[in-house]
């Protein structure tokens, strides 16, 4: 018996070690970003920087935060995230609520039309042509209107609405409340958690998306954060930036990593909430409606 417990704890010990290594491997790139962004020229050049800064300097941050384009892009992304999340939530709630009413004539047809788009779509170019055709090309609207409803989120929300007890809504209806009143006064207050979850799903999606901006945005002034980040990280936008540093020399790598740190910070700030609600959302989604 004693030998057995010993063996168990040996196995347990290995598991703890492995998980710790894995967690460190997940964290290491973030630490590396921070370390690179805060290190001096030579250590970064020689690849010496691992997970702590060498020759500590905040020069890279000074330079990055002094660039107007970063702020403009950040603001554009905040705008899109806010407007997009609001529109997405509105449409998703309307769709989910309306189509959760069981005896609505035409419910099946409309639900079917929505679900079908999960399996088949026009694809990149036909969608591009429509977005262009309705005049959204090179406007910020192109970054959230054409993708405002996610069918997956619609399913999650509809499943949730359906599971609300009918007795509540029916009673209100009998008392003469309109559907709008039922939605606003009864359904929504009971669904705060699911709305928060789906709102976060949308918000993170908008914050992180770059492809739509890549194909729909032409003006440099309308670049989103991810698009700006892409041209800073992979383009030669920083080539000119490195020149206007007076006396101090900053590695382009440090600048890039400082940019990465700055643009990821907002995600890290809201991460505790993200994690909590996202895990819930995945669970909700796995219950098929």
């Amino acid at each position: 018996m004693k030998a057995k417990t010993l063996k168990f704890s040996a196995g347990m010990f290995i598991i703890y070690i492995l998980i710790t290594i894995l967690a460190f491997a997940c964290l290491y790139p973030f630490l590396n970003v921070l370390a690179c962004s805060l290190s001096g020229y030579n250590p970064v050049l020689s690849g010496k920087v691992t997970f702590y800064p060498i020759d500590f300097t905040i020069e890279a941050y000074k330079m990055i935060l002094g660039r107007k384009t970063i702020w403009t892009a950040m603001w554009t992304t905040i705008e899109i995230t806010l407007m997009g999340t609001a529109l997405s939530l509105l449409l998703t709630i309307l769709a989910a609520y309306a189509l959760s009413i069981r005896d609505l004539p035409g419910r099946k047809v409309m639900t079917g039309l929505i679900l079908f788009t999960m399996y088949f779509g026009g694809g990149m170019i036909p969608t591009f042509l429509v977005v262009k055709g309705v005049g959204l090309y090179n406007t910020l609207g192109a970054l959230f209107i054409p993708q405002s409803i996610s069918v997956f989120n619609f399913i999650v929300m509809r499943t949730f609405f359906r599971e609300l007890p009918d007795s509540l809504t029916d009673a209100a209806r009998i008392d003469g409340a309109s559907y709008m009143t039922v939605l606003v006064r009864i359904v929504l207050p009971l669904s705060i958690a699911v709305i928060a979850t789906i709102g976060l799903f949308y918000a993170v999606g908008y914050w992180n998306s770059y492809f739509d901006a890549l194909i729909y945005i032409q003006d440099d002034a309308k670049f989103t954060l991810q698009l700006r980040l892409r041209s800073l990280l992979f383009g030669n936008e920083l080539g000119s930036a490195a020149d206007d540093v007076g006396g101090t020399v900053v590695m382009p790598q440090s600048l890039k990593m400082a940019t990465v740190a700055v643009s990821t910070l907002p995600i890290l700030v809201v991460y505790p909430w993200l994690q909590k609600y996202f895990v819930k959302g995945v669970m909700l989604g796995s219950v098929k409606g």
Binding site: I19, V33, G47, A98, F120, P126
Partner: protein, 306 residues
């Protein structure tokens, strides 16, 4: 009789008039941004001309398809899509299950919460950032990974510029980003395993390993199979972000996948008809694989995936 029923339905529908009003913006969205593009697929069978538009451009039958099928870049993109998906799946699928099983064994609540929080984090980071970090860390000259390797006496590894190593980098980045997130579904299934089974086996003197083989794995077998089928059904589709951002001119031979190829032909070269035809081909193959996978799942007694 018939008219009476129609009248009844109409009267019933009238009761729901405000619900239909709520549905107007929703259906307008789906029609404009999801269904009209489906009509736009017709340009795969047309010689699309910007000035004539989708509707008036002349029909050319399957000429466009013949053209894309004759292009070896197209077949290379299909091959690359399969190779990248297969490599990523071969590593991440078993690894996700192993990590889930290990996390499930951890008794310390705080330690578990902390590690889970860390493991989930990369899922929320955009591909632009992930690719930026990866190209920085895996770089030949200044990359910290090559610096460590060189100190160990291993020459610099061309993680980003040689075909084979690029696939490695792609898989590592993918696994890093999604491994923790992937465990959620298994962990949920694992909490559903009947506790009394473990107790009974403990009394019978089963070892931890025996319990894993005879109780834990069979209990989550169904979710494992479903996830595998789901993943296999997605073999032909691949996210555009990772290959586009991680790829570079040197590794185009392995990094150009269907989605990036569609993008390059369609948006960069403005070959609208060809790009649409490739998209359509991919959609159709996807649906066929999906239906087959669903059939297969049902045939072996699992839940369907549609």
């Amino acid at each position: 009789m018939g008219t009476k029923r129609v009248g009844g339905t109409l009267r019933k529908a009238w009761n729901y008039k405000w619900i239909y009003v709520m549905l107007i913006p929703v259906m307008a969205y789906f029609i404009i941004f999801r269904y009209i593009p489906m009509y736009g697929i017709t340009i795969a069978f047309k010689d699309y001309n910007i000035f004539q538009g989708v509707f008036a451009s002349p029909w050319v039958g399957v000429k466009v398809f013949r053209k894309i099928f004759a292009n070896k870049n197209f077949w290379s993109a299909i091959k690359n899509t399969f190779v990248l998906n297969l490599c990523a799946l071969a590593v991440s699928f078993p690894l996700t299950i192993i990590v889930s099983l290990m996390l499930n064994e951890i008794a310390g609540v705080k330690f578990k919460k902390l590690t889970q929080s860390i493991l989930y984090l990369p899922h929320f980071i955009s591909w632009v950032v992930v690719a930026g970090i990866a190209t920085n860390m895996f770089a030949m000259q200044e990359g910290s990974i090559n610096a460590v390797l060189q100190r160990l006496g291993v020459g610099p590894v061309p993680f980003l510029s040689s075909n084979g190593w690029w696939i490695f980098t792609y898989v590592v980045s993918n696994v890093w980003k999604e491994i923790g997130w992937g465990t959620i579904i298994y962990l949920a299934a694992l909490t559903g395993v009947d506790e009394t089974l473990y107790e009974a086996s403990y009394l019978d003197g089963a070892s931890k390993f025996q319990r894993l083989i005879y109780i834990t794995l069979p209990s989550i077998k169904s979710i494992i199979v479903t996830m595998l089928i789901l993943n296999i059904s997605k073999m032909m589709s691949i996210g555009l972000d990772a290959p586009l951002l991680l790829g570079n001119a040197k590794v185009m031979g392995v990094s150009e996948v269907i989605s990036t190829y569609t993008y390059r032909i369609g948006i960069e070269k403005a070959q609208y008809s060809q790009s649409t035809a490739i998209g359509l081909f991919q959609s159709v193959v996807n649906i066929v694989i999906l239906l087959a996978a669903d059939r297969f799942a049902k045939a072996i007694g699992e839940d369907g995936i549609i």
